[in-house]
Point group: C2
């Protein structure tokens, strides 16, 4: 039944006591225990234990799944190339095998992302500071694309780095790279301001901002009356 249903159209689940071996980018071994194996029609494989949101082992979409019987026990093997990766699940006991004809056309509608934060700023630039004028989004520099590029009321160049949630030192590093790249590329004597826009910052990130002469503006992706 399983072999027939690994046809790229069926969602398969197997529940039972098994061991799991993985070899690829890393390598792992998992002793016997009760787990849920999910084989998706797109070639994804997931091994879930009783704990955690992440599967304990997995294969990404695009893999090929095979089943076999060894000493009366079910074996499932999933593999891919580039990079070469292999997952082997050996069941001692199987409590349940299911195959579902799945139909799902709907796309997820998600809000509260960095893109929403950008749109909020473009709709009302005064949220950043009075007189701020956005000139471009995703403006290219040698250090990568700047989220929002614009001018303040005095005509000084302003670079915004947007984050949808509280930020640590990594985001400051990103902003530093953009500001330094623009200073080199615009080769102007005029000041370039770098502003991190996020709901809040950690202490270490705030220190780094001070050391680098950068600024912070508190803003969330969602309107306060949400």
């Amino acid at each position: 039944m399983l072999e027939r249903r690994l046809d790229g159209e069926t969602l398969v689940t197997v529940y039972g006591r098994c061991t799991v071996e993985y070899d690829g980018r890393a390598a792992s071994s998992l002793g016997p225990g009760d787990r849920l194996l999910v084989l998706k029609p797109d070639g994804t494989a997931l091994v879930h234990t009783t704990e955690n949101q992440k599967p304990v082992n997995w294969q990404p979409p695009g893999c090929t799944h095979e089943v076999s019987l060894v000493d009366g026990g079910l074996r499932v093997r999933s593999e891919r190339s580039t990079p070469a990766e292999e997952l082997r699940v050996a069941f001692e006991t199987v409590e349940q095998v299911s195959a579902f004809d799945a139909r799902d056309e709907e796309d997820l509608a998600l809000t509260g992302t960095e893109e929403d934060l950008r749109q909020r700023i473009l709709d009302d630039p005064d949220l950043v500071e009075s007189g701020f004028r956005p000139l471009a989004t995703e403006r290219e520099t040698s250090a990568g694309a700047v989220d929002v590029y614009g001018e303040d009321r005095e005509g000084r160049t302003v670079v915004l780095e947007l984050k949808r949630r509280r930020v640590g030192p990594d985001a400051v590093g990103q902003l530093v790279r953009y500001v330094e790249a623009l200073r080199r590329e615009l080769h102007t004597d005029a000041e370039i301001r770098g502003v991190l826009v996020a709901p809040s910052v950690t202490d270490r990130a705030r220190e780094l901002l001070g050391e680098e002469g950068l600024e912070f503006v508190s803003l969330t992706p969602r309107a306060s009356d949400d």
Copy 2:
């Protein structure tokens, strides 16, 4: 049956046609489709479609799950506080409901991690460069802990930043922060070398290394005869 089995000891799966609403750190809405709902004993909730490794919607461990019947349809609600987040799954049809008494004591044994790379270097420092002497791991600086701290054959301070796989500009930014922090804190005139140790680097990362006067050494977490 479901209410009785949401007892913190049972793994529950529900398969059927449903809609999903999420509100919390972000917010999302998903129209009707066939999906697999997994409720773990640790309070995790997963909604899986036919595609992708990641669930289309989820709740992290520690949430409380509730079930109810509305107009003859099964509803599942999962919520948590700090941050306040809620997931609602409304089933039109239910093809299967399962409850499994799960027993799993085994821990995953994973190799090929950054920790393995560190151990490789401590076992044979010459892999980094002839004469390199590691003095400390996780050495604290104001910018965070340095992976490996040591001296080269001439006695110059060397900072290693380790990555288990090919690295981009972000890792260079991290190394820059550590080297700058040490230059301030050691307030010495002597040179401090920063070395990125990883299997490979992207072009942009290599440029950044050059601009910052940092170095790169190619090394993987696993021995070449693996």
